[in-house]
């Protein structure tokens, strides 16, 4: 690959990671004023802010690499669903509190493993973003783990909801560990992460937590994929129509 190709691939990679962070952050922000109690409301908002901040850093870097006058806002507000490349697990509706915490657990374990690798990237900016995000993820994971234990090993109702949530999410976790040609090239170049290699460690950690929470690890019986190529569930369009409405109604507005 030429330097120019690598630069373009890195730009696309930064957009992907930005999309993952923005969409999950937006989903978490939907809990604002709807969480079970005030402290939990604050916690979810704080985690959402961490993700949205992460999205800004990735989009800001993507804009810098594009060098065509685009800004972070162009990536967040002026693209359609087919142009978004987030993994599908992030766009699923927030569901009940058990669903949200189950998703956080599965993605927090993934993030902690992923960021640990990304902070070794030969790309200094990606490594810098990862170092920052990894610190925050330690807090996120501790919290989602505690909630998984509390809900899984809680009442019959909370247990049943956690079982349902983990079952509904499991088929979406496989996509976390797939690489396409672009990601493989970046992994080979020492810039990106070989996420396929992370699955054994992820499964081991997740299984240990689920077992402790008296929950079972689902069978790998179904898989949904498509996020990286822009094939999304119907949910993404709904998120974007809400998230982008102001920017599209009043282009360039500032306040």
């Amino acid at each position: 690959m030429t330097d120019q190709d690598l630069r373009q691939a890195t730009q696309a990679y930064a957009v992907r990671l930005g999309d993952d962070a923005l969409i999950l952050g937006h989903r978490l922000s939907e809990w604002t004023s709807r969480a079970p109690f005030l402290e939990e409301d604050l916690a979810l908002q704080n985690v959402a802010l961490d993700y949205i901040g992460r999205a800004r850093m990735f989009y800001g870097y993507a804009a810098e690499l594009s060098a065509d006058g685009r800004t972070e806002d162009d990536f967040a507000y002026l693209r359609d669903a087919r142009q978004f490349s987030n993994l599908l697990i992030h766009e699923l509706p927030r569901g009940d509190f058990a669903f949200t915490m189950a998703r956080q657990l599965l993605t927090d374990v993934f993030s902690s493993l992923y960021l640990e690798q990304l902070l070794r990237s030969t790309d200094a900016t990606l490594a810098g973003i990862a170092a920052k995000a990894a610190k925050e993820t330690r807090y996120h994971l501790r919290r989602s783990r505690e909630w998984a234990l509390r809900l899984g090993d809680g009442t019959d109702e909370s247990h049943a909801r956690m079982v349902r949530a983990i079952d509904e999410l499991w088929g979406y976790t496989h996509e976390l560990f797939e690489l396409d040609a672009l990601e493989q090239q970046l992994a080979d170049a020492g810039i990106g992460v070989d996420n396929a290699a992370l699955r054994p460690a992820w499964l081991k950690q997740v299984s240990a937590i689920l077992t402790e929470a008296t929950l079972r690890v689902p069978e790998d019986s179904w898989v949904v994929r498509g996020g990286r190529t822009g094939y999304h569930t119907e949910n993404l369009g709904h998120i974007l129509s809400e998230m982008q409405s102001v920017h599209r109604a009043y282009p360039g507005v500032s306040w």
Binding site: G25, E39, E40, L42, A43, Q45, N46, V47, A48, L49, D50, Y51, I52, G53, R54, R56, M57, A124, T125, A127, G128, I129, A131, K132, A133, K135, E136, R138, Y139, R142, R143
Partner: protein, 189 residues
């Protein structure tokens, strides 16, 4: 943390390696007056604390054309205070007669509560916020503990965590069993 016997938890101000490095960098700077000027710029969310004492202010340079280049590192990824900090730095320098100011954000090395000054710890405590506890010997800062953070009001250690996340990203919420007051704890990160 598993080997607690080999670790020391300290909530007194201690000169961390990160802090000593920052201080040495400042003391070597050819523009000490500019650093002193920016000591007046406070954290918009914790006005007791200057950006210097918070560890956000990393570098100040005066370029040949007179332009001043300031480097700051963001605390949390989504910290909304960053824009206010940037604006305050620019207006403080402009009011002191330096019209050309550039503020850059540096992600690396990532900001850490290890960069807080010992004075910053005291300022936090005086403001009613328990300063972050250092874990000497830990490779990474300990996460917020469940109990035992010294109450900034009455000094009791008989306290417990109410919420991991407080009113802003950088704080957790505790309550003191001795004086019953809730208080913020500046989370180690």
């Amino acid at each position: 943390m598993n080997k607690t016997d080999t670790l020391t938890l300290v909530d007194r101000p201690v000169p961390t390696a990160a802090w000593v490095q920052r201080l040495q960098h400042r003391n070597r700077s050819p523009v000490p007056g500019l650093w002193a000027l920016l000591d007046a710029v406070k954290d918009p969310e914790v006005p007791a604390l200057s950006l210097w004492d918070l560890g956000v202010l990393r570098d100040i340079e005066q370029q040949d054309n007179g332009c001043i280049r300031v480097v700051i590192s963001p605390t949390y990824s989504g910290c909304p205070a960053l824009e206010a900090m940037r604006a305050d730095i620019i207006s403080t320098l402009q009011q002191a007669g330096h019209p050309e100011v550039e503020v850059h954000t540096a992600l690396s090395p990532a900001w850490s509560t290890e960069a807080l000054s010992p004075q910053g710890h005291e300022q936090l405590r005086a403001y009613g916020i328990a300063p972050p506890r250092h874990c000497q010997g830990c490779s990474v800062p300990e996460l917020t503990p469940e109990s035992g953070i010294t109450c900034p009001r009455c000094g009791s250690d008989d306290t417990h965590r109410i919420s991991e996340f407080g009113s802003t990203a950088c704080k957790a919420l505790f309550q003191c069993r001795a004086c019953h007051e809730p208080f913020d704890y500046f989370k180690p990160i």
